[in-house]
């Protein structure tokens, strides 16, 4: 598939995470996921659980109950290769999207912490996640750096998980190292 020049949708905002994770969710899904990604950054749930229906991917974080900054992009075709300079970790997985509004979901409060990304037709997509400032502690305040993520979604032409970079201690910790 030919590369696209720019994303069709770009959203920036924050998500308040809980238990060191936030999720990519379809309509009707509740926040949370029991699983942490095996690569320490992003992964699909390991089991289909009824109360997690609609949870498509989980992203692990260094902070436990703090905000993370997110830039999320939806591309109509494969984006240019990511320049991983300046990112600690980056990985790409494939997700099967059921259709509907995409949201990033954080803590399970009322209201929940969520960042909507717009509608996406059902289908198979590549999900790229890159993260930085993951190691500055699980609970931060004041002028301490904000943990940050880049998320990209585009229709899949290839499958298979790819780890582009894995340098953070946080990623190593969640991988079990």
């Amino acid at each position: 598939m030919a590369s696209s020049a720019a994303p069709a949708v770009r959203v920036t905002g924050t998500v308040t995470v809980e238990y060191n994770r936030f999720t990519v969710a379809a309509p009707g899904a509740s926040p949370g996921c029991l699983d942490l990604p095996r690569n320490g950054l992003v992964g699909a749930p390991l089991e289909a659980r009824p109360f997690e229906a609609g949870t498509v991917a989980v992203i692990a974080t260094g902070v436990a109950y703090d905000e993370v900054a997110v830039t999320a992009e939806v591309w109509t075709g494969e984006p240019p290769a990511l320049d991983t300079t300046g990112w600690q970790d980056a990985a790409v997985i494939t997700v099967d999207w059921p259709g509907g509004q995409v949201r990033l979901l954080g803590e399970d409060t009322v209201p929940p912490s969520e960042l909507p990304l717009g509608g996406l037709p059902a289908g198979r997509y590549r999900l790229l996640v890159a993260g930085r400032h993951r190691d500055e502690g699980e609970a931060r305040s004041g002028a301490m750096p904000v943990e940050e993520y880049l998320i990209r979604l585009w229709p899949a032409s290839s499958t298979g998980e790819r780890v582009l970079k894995a340098t953070s201690a946080t990623g190593a910790m969640w991988r079990g190292g």
């Binding site: 238990y19 009707g28 089991e47 109360f51 436990a64 399970d108 209201p111 960042l115 609970a139 940050e148």
Partner: protein, 517 residues
């Protein structure tokens, strides 16, 4: 790309969401990760020992024995409306007399014969194989939903009544007993027959039946079931007649429920050892985002000896109400206008029995042992939430208050710099009203130190910097405890708690307990 800056507390209090989740206003004042009829936490399959799920509890405030229908005034009123029997099929001794009846619940049996007959009937029912597991119940509820939409094959899946779980039989004749997604009772029903001449009323017969009632829900399906079986187990004189003896039954529901289906009682023969079975299904009507509804299903039945008047109607006493909600669902509608937001579909809806207090089980030999040890020590030092006696904890879903709890019990860096690989755990959890900041009675901090927190095979599970001046050896019911635990344990257990809340539909301010095992 600019570095994002941290928001000030004032900025943080404005919700960081682009969707108006104002539609999610909770008016409410509601498994574990492994599906179970109770509320055990999940342990993914790797855990060594299976958790012990907490047992069913008895519904509060119910009257188990009821003889009011047979009180003289009640019989008099009935007699005033009765007409003498003229049917030529009636026994000779009853012709020309008024015959009335009344219904009693759970009165002791008068004879050894009826007592033995009851025991035999119970044993026969208990002996039925295949008490339902959660997957069976979910399949049924989904089939009821599909049948309502016209799926004819789905209706066939609902043909036979389900056998009752063992715990129902354990509490026979003691009213309604409940779990988070089930309620059950076994009742002993007596039908008394009286004949009257010249104002004199004589008892002319008795029939006795067992009534098995079983309502079940699923925490992620917004249709629930109400099942009944009535089986006559004994009769004498007028009550012993099995011929021309019929039973009729129907189901109703009061509250936020709409009938999906009602099979009535089939085959409808009130004769010894004939199972008269009924299944009714009800759909939740509060499916709007944030909706919370309450429903009470009841079965009603009467028996009819063809040449008598029908008996009075047995109205099942109210079971504990069932609560269905869509409070967990975020509908993904970025218009944010409640009037235009539509239900996200059944994924977000589910039903539970809210009067059953669910218990989150944490395992000392599970995947995240240090959290279990911390909870155990915290509860032993007097902090609330301990199974079985509590006091209960209440779930908190306000983001600002959760943050205050967390910041009080576990101040962020640079105040408390975490040891490498560790994160701060607090008890009661920040997601409860009993947390460090929101607790109704303010308290102080505590922690735990060797030797009490050095466990063979686990090690020192609570690490705290002495410079933080958090005292150890503190006891009492107010305050909170803090411990630095391995981050993997803390995060994993936290996610299990989130799963427990969802699989038990624990809504804001719902009570629950925590049980370290």
């Amino acid at each position: 790309m600019n570095e994002p800056t941290r928001r000030t507390p004032a900025e943080r209090r404005r919700p960081a969401i682009l969707v108006a989740a104002s539609a999610l206003i909770l008016t409410g004042g509601l498994t574990a990760v492994v599906p179970a009829a109770g509320a055990a936490t999940a342990a993914p399959a790797a855990t060594a020992d299976a958790p012990k799920p907490p047992p069913p509890t008895r519904a509060a405030g119910q009257r188990v024995t009821d003889t009011a229908d047979c009180a003289p005034s009640s019989l008099d009123a009935r007699s005033a409306k009765a007409k003498p029997v003229t049917d030529p099929r009636a026994p000779r001794e009853l012709r020309g007399k008024k015959v009335i009846s009344c219904v009693q619940t759970n009165v002791p049996n008068a004879s050894k014969e009826s007592t033995d007959a009851r025991a035999a009937a119970l044993a026969a029912q208990r002996g039925q194989a295949g008490a339902p597991d959660e997957e069976t119940l979910r399949t049924r509820l989904k089939a009821a939903q599909a049948a309502r939409k016209g799926d004819k094959d789905a209706r066939a899946k609902l043909a036979d009544n389900l056998p009752l779980p063992d715990w129902c039989h354990d509490h026979a004749f003691d009213g309604w007993w409940v779990l988070r997604t089930a309620e059950c009772q076994i009742a002993d029903i007596t039908v008394l027959y009286f004949a009257e001449t010249n104002g004199r009323r004589v008892h002319v017969g008795t029939a006795k039946a067992l009534e098995f009632s079983y309502n079940y829900t699923s925490s992620d399906i917004d249709t629930f079931a109400s099942q009944i079986r009535v089986v006559k187990y004994w009769g004498e004189r007028a009550g012993s007649t099995d011929f021309f003896s019929n039973i009729y039954g129907w189901s109703t529901c009061s509250g936020d429920c709409k009938q999906n289906s009602d099979s009535g009682l089939r085959p409808g023969r009130f004769a010894r050892d004939v199972n008269n079975d009924g299944q009714a299904f009800y759909d939740n009507t509060r499916t709007e985002t944030g909706g919370i509804g309450y429903a009470t299903p009841n079965w009603h039945w009467f028996v009819h000896l063809v040449f008598f008047l029908p008996s009075t109607t047995r109205n099942q006493p109210d079971p504990p109400r069932i609560r269905c909600d869509n409070a967990f669902s975020t509908d993904g509608n970025d218009l944010g206008d409640p009037a235009s937001s539509r239900s996200a579909g059944v994924i977000g809806n589910g039903c539970v029995v809210p009067s059953y207090v669910p218990t989150w089980i944490v395992l000392k030999n599970g995947l995240y042992p240090t959290v279990a040890y911390h909870v155990e020590a915290a509860q032993k030092s007097g902090l609330p939430g301990a199974y079985p006696n509590g006091p209960v904890l209440h779930r908190l879903q306000d983001p600002a208050k959760k943050r205050q709890n967390g910041d009080t019990a576990c101040p962020p860096a640079p105040t408390w710099v975490r040891p490498a690989g560790k994160s701060c755990d607090e008890y009661p959890m920040r997601s409860t009203y009993e947390g460090a900041s929101t607790a109704p009675t303010p308290g102080t901090a505590r922690s735990f130190a060797p030797p009490t927190q050095n466990v063979p095979g686990v090690g020192e599970w609570c690490e705290m910097d002495a410079a933080w001046n958090v005292p150890t050896g503190v006891t009492g019911p107010t305050g909170w405890s803090s411990c630095m635990l391995p981050a993997r344990d803390n995060s994993g257990a936290g996610a299990l708690l989130g799963g427990f809340y969802k699989s038990n539909r624990v809504l804001d301010n719902d009570p629950f307990l925590v049980w370290p095992q």
